[in-house]
Amino acid sequence: MITSESPATTPLFKMSGVSKRYGGVHALENAELTVKPGRIHAILGENGAGKSTLIKIMAGVVAPDEGQMLLNGRPVSFRSPAEACAAGVTCVFQELSLIPDLSVADNICIAAPPRHFGLINRKAQRAIAEEMLARAGAEDVHPRALVKDLSLSRRQLVEIAKALAWKPRILILDEGTSALTATDVAKVFSVLRRLRSEGLALLYISHRMQEIAELADECTVLRNGRNVMSFAAGTRSGSEIVEMMIGREYSNAFPPKPARATADTAPPPLECRKLCWGDSLRDISLAVGRGEVVGLGGLDGQGQREMLLALFGVLRGTTGSVLVDGKPVTLTSPAVARSKHIGMALIPEDRKTEGLMLEMTVRENLSFAVLDRVSKGGVIDRKKEGQLIDEMVQLLAIKTAGFDIPVSELSGGNQQKVVIAKWLMRRPRIVLLNDPTRGIDVGTKQEIYQLLRRLAEAGAAILFYSTDYDELIGCCDRVLVFYKGSIVRELRDGGITQHALVASALNVEGEKAESAA
């Protein structure tokens, strides 16, 4: 069926009717994808649209439930990443697959190191590593350095170099630039362009529309696991593409923001001045008022997480001051941060490692953060615990078959609700949220937005980090945009738009100013 096409546009790889389900979630449904050599193919979609799932299937990490894949016209199915790589399909994953305790050179050649007499030839390996690092534009990374000692952006480049060592025909980058600075991004782009000219097929996933406009030859948009459309780059406007990705009006999803009382003379519940922590936080000053929802924006990894962790007492060696209700406080641990006179709560980013004890019961998880309140002299008052839990479960409409089943048996969204509920039980006055809606379905998201608003109305001060711009737009009274550990811009009310967020996140003006200086 592909014979009639000219060689230049002959698909190298074709995927059709591919579906993948995780429990009740359709991560992919009937997905189609055609990849041609010498082209950069962008895949677009919201968080959770199924992009990563799609390329994991291509790369042999995940087995599809149905559908078929053709490589050079021949049906293939990969049982492991190694098989896919050997066939020429190599992926740079969103979660890095580097081994922290091994050197860069070891990592680059991990799967098929050069050998003589059966042993790894380190000289040859070194040569390969240097070559690949150069191709990936990371000449400054020493091949003997240990991966765990590298910064995140260097690791990304090493990951690309590692992929190149496979001599792939199809190279996939899943948000391969999300942690990179603009200069590094430019470097990677030139590398990618060169690879394109060498005839590789490139699949590129990114949330940065700008990059896609600059780089892509073709685009495919996914939404809720389905193909929306494939088209040649430049044939659709940016806003059309966003429309396709989102496919709905966002205003509906969010509760209305109340008009803010203007003159609140009381000291703000949370304020910090000149907060610094290494390179990740530089002179951060901000204040969150009663009933206010303040968003943290910007690209991922610009210091937003560190900001929340610093406030919650997790980081050592922070400088600057934090004031709660106008009084300076010293935050040395989460135990202090949650204490009565401070009343902070942090909804963590990764519920599996930071939020829940997966093997413990729903009850135990829910009451974990309020153990001090439901107990007397260290003995848990089961009745009081039960009441509180009942209330909270009602409030958040958590769907569970009972309180005494392991929380791991709940669906992801309900697990996330448990994490939130466990903190709401403390009735916190300051709520820090670290990207709480990741991997959660739309309905649950809406409930969470409403809850946020209700909390704010009840007087809480809320600091809300999200990687999803729509959420920031829909939920926040103000958004502070982070860039390289500093707040570069404050957006308020009507000023919080997709464009403003993206522009300030990339620090377009700032970069320009920097390069001009």
């Binding site: 890095l96 697959s97 091994l102 991990i110 790894i120 350095a145 962790l309 980081l315 050592r316």
Partner: protein, 326 residues
């Protein structure tokens, strides 16, 4: 950073262990009534090498983020076996040696099978196999006794050219023949990788099970080489429960002193060898300093406590407390 700095960094644990050992040994020798004679070195070497083999064995398993609490018992079992079979003519002796090493390999492989395919936690699985190995050792040697080809034994525990202890040469040879190829092979690298991050290793398509199995099996082999040397050193076999347990525990201490992380993925058997030699020198220090005999066990305990606490200093560099939890 300069190239040499990376080399230094890569080997920091090993170099630290070596430095600790050399300092301790220098203190020991300079206070020894006989001074630095080849006899003194030979005595220290013969004693140190035994633990060094067991510590190397432990290292292989620890690198994969496992632990082998049966190494001491494999050591004892192969000692008991060697005292029966490493005897007679050169050919018979050679077969005896092969039988001993094969037994060690087999014990290690059994651990590997149980841990990898039985999916049991290494701590408990190897406690249990350790009991079995010890039981077999007792069957072989209900009473201490037996003998060994004394020519071979003298050769292996003697001196070459009248100066260099043969046991050290043997240790170096084993490092060259087993450890170096292992650490430079794909299997060895996989062992490191799976100890460092099993998910990343899987994502990179590495043969994880094969690597772990090899690590456990080679650990058995190395422990049996230790058992063989114990036989050369003592001329007998003995199923001593206490020494079996002691060598297991000492091997863990040596591995930690040698800069190998108990969480896996980091360290080298050469470091563990120096760790073992340093650990043994702690005992030797008793000899040169005039401790009241009743204070000796306390002294050894305190030195061990201090040595293992040294590693904690890295902790104060951690700036994100979440990193405590690995």
């Amino acid at each position: 950073m300069k190239e040499w700095r990376y080399r230094l960094h890569e080997r920091r644990g090993t170099l630290m262990a070596a430095a600790v050992f050399f300092v301790m040994f220098a203190i020991y020798v300079s206070n020894h009534p006989a001074g630095l004679t080849s006899n003194v070195v030979q005595t220290a070497a013969n004693k140190g090498v035994l633990l060094a083999f067991v510590a190397m064995a432990q290292t292989l398993v620890v690198i994969t983020a496992g632990i082998d609490l049966s190494v001491g018992m494999i050591f004892i079992l192969t000692n008991a076996l060697a005292s029966w079979v490493v005897l007679g003519t050169a050919v018979e002796t050679a077969f005896g040696v092969i039988a001993v090493l094969t037994t060690g390999l087999f014990c290690g492989a059994l651990n590997g099978l149980i841990v990898i395919y039985g999916r049991l936690q290494p701590i408990v699985a190897t406690i249990a196999t350790g009991a079995i190995f010890f039981g077999i050792a007792l069957l072989l040697r209900p009473f201490p006794g037996g003998s060994v080809n004394e020519e071979l034994a003298d050769l292996m525990t003697g001196k070459i050219f009248g100066t260099v202890p043969a046991s050290l040469i043997a240790l170096a040879a084993i490092v060259l023949v087993i450890w170096v190829p292992f650490s430079r092979s794909i299997i060895g690298r996989t062992a490191y990788a799976s100890g460092s991050s099993e998910t990343a290793a899987y994502m990179s398509g590495l043969p994880i099970r094969r690597a772990k199995f090899t690590a456990y099996t080679l650990a058995g082999l190395l422990a049996s080489i230790g058992g063989l040397f114990l036989t050369f050193f003592t001329f007998t076999g003995e199923a001593a429960l206490a020494s079996g347990n002691a060598y297991t525990l000492f091997s863990i201490a040596s591995v930690v002193l040698g800069g190998v992380s108990l969480f896996g993925g980091k360290g080298s058997a050469i470091g563990a060898v120096f760790g073992a030699l340093a650990f043994r020198t702690i005992g030797d220090l008793l000899f040169v300093f005039d401790f009241d005999p009743l204070w000796q066990p306390l002294f050894q305990g305190v030195v061990l406590l201090v040595a293992v606490s040294l590693g904690a200093f890295g902790l104060f560099r951690v700036r994100n407390r979440l990193e405590w939890f690995g």
